[in-house]
Subunit: 375 residues, 4 copies
């Protein structure tokens, strides 16, 4: 036997011994999970991991350096944590496969994550009762599952940009929804305004800029109201999952995820629509996932193909911005469809628009802008 | 009338005058394009633009700074160039709407860009005649449009990684294709090996790493052979278009584009699959666009939903890696499907696999590896 | 004269006319700014811009398309806004050149943005009185300008990670500072906890995850306390400036900016340290800019060269994490220096460490961890 | 003893056993490296790794899944490979600490990587003998270490952009260098033109777009001429290292690395200057590293602070573009300094400009452009 062959055989042998020890270690880890009798991350103790690493590397005699030994054991710690998760005895709430009730998460009366995809539609911002009424009437006439979306509190980059009608906008949104029997979603920006927002809508939206706002996540986790959690435009899949975990672990299990594009070097689209995030998240969790194609792309000409792509990839719904008169919109006019183009788009996607397509309800020029803050 | 109202009216007036001048300027630009009687970019003269800017900013009396005036005129130059393009009297070849012949670009006998999507399938690398025969037999038994793909020259990051069988690999590829009546595509890495590669394949692939390799682009532009141009993983849409322009403007109009993912901060997938690039490119050019979902994702579990997304977004075809025994593959084994999983995937995508699914042609253990370079 | 020459002369003529109109328009814009008699962004009216665009493109007779005309006028609007800014009659507060008082912004008694660079140092998290005392004693013995940093409220990605000692941590921080006569900075996470945090520290830190948290920005803008505004790890320079504008325009002008790395594709460092952001920001605003090299890099071996680079690029200070026993740290142990390495680093950077280098104050093993939440 | 404490003790015990096995395995790995008696990557066999993984996961009895076991062993394989490297018995050439001869790598008579930093300066493109003479005369009068850089073959994104004077440009470059006694570097674009380029210059530049062009890397590896290897603008540190490895492992050890910015989401600079890459690379390899601040930033106002940052971070030199009349440059005029600004910059960096600063050699208007290709 050649020396090389011999040495390789010895390595194979050591490999097998390491494998056996890993398996034994895995069994103990499972036993600990059972022993603690816990569900959730109570079993996870980062400081113990660090202490184990410190101990293991305190007196190394080579040939490996401490950093290398740490790498191996960090991998072992990670798969151990995964193991607890797999066994349903510990791990993240977000990994549970039973999060969504039969038929879907109810937003008002609209089930999200059930067999039928849901359309979240409406203007970027609440601007006037007339504007909202035009959209509301249009959406109410559609036979499919629809949730009215519109922002009252707007997180704008520039403090001089239109910041939303705030409380007044919430009232207009709720009035519109009540009049037309629509479910609603609107964004909440902070803990201080959470009560008033929650009072006026069926679903709370955590926007991309707030995905890391852990204090806000904890606050909505204590409410009994569905949450639409947008992916931060700089957030990894893992970070997005952990933001959902903040909400779930606080007690609120009605979370819908929303991919809305990530920031990359490509300037042709406002963001890069990460379509793979949809099946990725549906593999990582049982929560419903929708796609906000309007924000992901920032241009109207790509809405149809990318909406089709989102649904083909398994999205439970779409978010699309529509405004009676996009040219006069107070924010993001360039990416909002007028109602006629919107109707055409959703028909091409296979939704029926019912009587909505006939339009006519929204007067051509009545969008009275006088008296509004910014004009 | 308030002074503010008055001043604003004067601005409106100036705006109208600028608009009129822009229109007049546009008419002259069109006249120049006609006068020069040219097609293509001969009419584009960057140095003249710079001279105009220098002149305009040489003697400014304010209130704007030179950089600001340059910004405005650069925008004007750009829309002027676009104008020439729109009129088909000048501009990029890649913008022409008549690039693809009726029925599609022929790769061997397979029309790409016609009504039916095309499947580009095969292993990452040519390894052995037996391996290629197994894949070839499988693909040949499928009723749809199929092109066999496999690399003989491999552009590897690490010089110690398997670099491909090179000339020997080309011969195996061609033998396999001849035996099974398949069209083929394989990558060409440089000008020196272009003749030998071109001799052995129906279509030349320019890989992502070579999208900016202008000398290679110019060389393939002089051949009468279809080219599959992959998007660089760091390339903008505009740069990708201009790489295609290199090939078209050199005389070769048989170009198929291939989106294969871009590099971002997200670690869950090998690259981020930019599904919007498909409709974007189909808007910018009339060339066919396919999606290499294997490289875009780098994991098998997302192939089905993302392939569906690509087709829904308008892709003219898909590229999917398949290998008889992925675990033994010499490169990228982790992202290659075995033939059975591959057959299942394409069936779920709606392709018929005909007799291919029966398999049985590929022997279980005959992949004789002895004597090969790296084992 | 050739027709081409003639046509080009006509274009030159039109260019000159457009230039004259632009100058005239610029003068009116300045007059409006003066007429409104305003300072700040009150003069900026996005909806008026949209109305102008709508009007200009409502009745186009060609040859340009509406989108092209919009592009030109958007550029014109932008340089007009810049013009107002340049003239100091309108524009962003953040552009003012007189923001920093003679000698710098005072954090406690430490001037930031004055002639001498400031060292913001301390552990990632407040953990125990003993840990803080060890750091505090070390820093207090250094002769240079030092601010003690340590987190009491920690914005952690994972809800199961250590979230900070919160109120208890604030008290330990303040006690340590009082005992050693140090100025402090600590992070504030939301509006609800802002009062308690503000009460315990000399400077409020807005972390990278909260740079877009406009409600929090507005809240700190109403306080009379310096703010350390970190750049979001996916924030453009422009967005960062506008976040500072939120604070300044609300009335708080004591803002220090902190570059801390951006998220890119490169995995070798935790983030990519954007050293050019330092001179960029110092060109865009007169606010002080420091660099958090610990978070930018996430590894200790690059701290010295990158700290040198930051200072060479003009940084007004550095933030460096140090911990008496990094191996036992409850968060980010891998990137925190122990006090001895820290002392060596700052000496190599040219700071004097005075008596601090003698150490000895921090007991070797007394970090009693019993009873703490997570161990 | 509580059951939890007991279970944890058992885990600690297993950890110790795994650690012992890792150490034993490491010793065998070192023995193999010695046994093979090889230097370089001959000892690296990816297919053997795959076979080991296949074997280890072929018959798992739980509780871990195959993918988890693979993760652990892939980490073990990686640290084993690192181990061989550390021991200098195997591993990458690029890791050797003895690559640079005493005093530095000679480019002509200029030592790069020695005690004194080197300035690589000159225009983006060779345009005319007069232009080059003006730059050459200026640089030759400087007392420090200078290499003249200028492109004859230009890799342009747009096929209609100026592609360089090619062979004619090479002759002008060489004439200029001969007349003024300067060392030169110029870019080579492909294997076909490599001989002619190599004949006319002291150092070959591999540009960012060609960093992945393995055929070109192999070709220059066979020459006895120093190579300036730029980092691809989307290349990781590891990929850049492996591109250098292509050159080194082919026999050419005179490689100088050049950081020139990476592509990110930030639009304020042309690229994001990754200053940490300088110390990172100097830690990973002993090759000299310089910084091309002109391309990294794409704007003149940041050249001084970022050049200072590069030198402070340990750069062995800088590359800065300078042109007698940037406004008339045929490429990248916006980022090239005129000779006077260039002289001022390098003086501020601490270089002496000797008689160069007096200028006067370059005539004010003689840059005869008539007859040139693009005007």
């Amino acid at each position: 036997m050649s020396p090389l062959r011999d040495l390789r055989d010895r390595i194979d042998e050591v490999n097998e011994q390491i494998l056996d020890l890993l398996s034994a270690r895995g069994e103990i880890v499972l036993e600990i999970a059972r022993d603690k009798g816990v569900r959730g991350l109570d079993g996870y103790d980062p400081s113990r991991e660090e202490r184990m690493l410190a101990e293991l590397t305190s007196d190394l005699r080579g040939p490996f350096a401490a950093a290398q030994i740490r790498d191996v054991f960090r991998t072992i710690f990670r798969i151990s944590l995964e193991l607890q998760d797999v066994e349903h005895q510990a791990g993240l709430h977000v990994r549970r496969r039973d999060l969504v009730p039969e038929g879907g998460i109810l937003v008002g009366a609209v089930p999200v994550g059930g067999p039928e995809p849901v359309l979240f539609a409406g203007p970027c911002s609440v601007e006037t009762p007339e504007q909202m009424d035009a959209v509301g009437a249009y959406l109410a006439a559609m036979p499919g599952l629809v949730v009215l979306r519109a922002g009252a509190f707007k997180p704008r980059t520039n403090p001089a940009s239109f910041q939303g009608l705030r409380e007044k906008g919430l009232r207009i949104l709720k009035d519109t929804a009540d009049r037309h029997g629509l479910a609603t979603v609107t964004e909440v920006l902070d803990v201080a305004t959470l009560p008033i927002v929650a009072e006026h809508t069926d679903m709370l939206q955590i926007g991309a800029r707030n995905m890391y706002n852990t204090e806000l996540l904890k606050a909505v986790s204590r409410l009994d109201k569905p949450v639409l959690l947008k992916r931060g435009f700089m957030a990894t899949i893992q970070e997005w999952l952990l933001s959902a975990e903040y909400i779930l672990s606080g007690g609120n299990e009605s979370v819908v995820l929303c991919e809305r594009g990530i920031r990359t070097f490509e300037p042709s689209t406002r963001n890069t629509f990460d379509v793979a995030a949809i099946p990725l998240m549906k593999g990582e969790t049982s929560l419903p996932v929708i796609a906000d194609v309007s924000h992901a792309l920032g241009r109207k000409d790509l809405l149809l193909p990318c909406s089709r792509a989102a649904l083909a990839a398994g999205a439970d719904g779409l978010m699309i911005e529509t405004h009676p008169t996009p040219d006069q919109a107070l924010s993001d006019g360039f990416q909002q469809l007028d109602l006629s183009d919107f109707g055409e788009l959703v028909q091409q996607l296979g939704w029926s628009v019912g009587d909505a397509g006939t339009g006519g309800r929204f007067p051509a020029e009545p969008l009275v802008r006088a008296g509004r803050k910014l004009s």
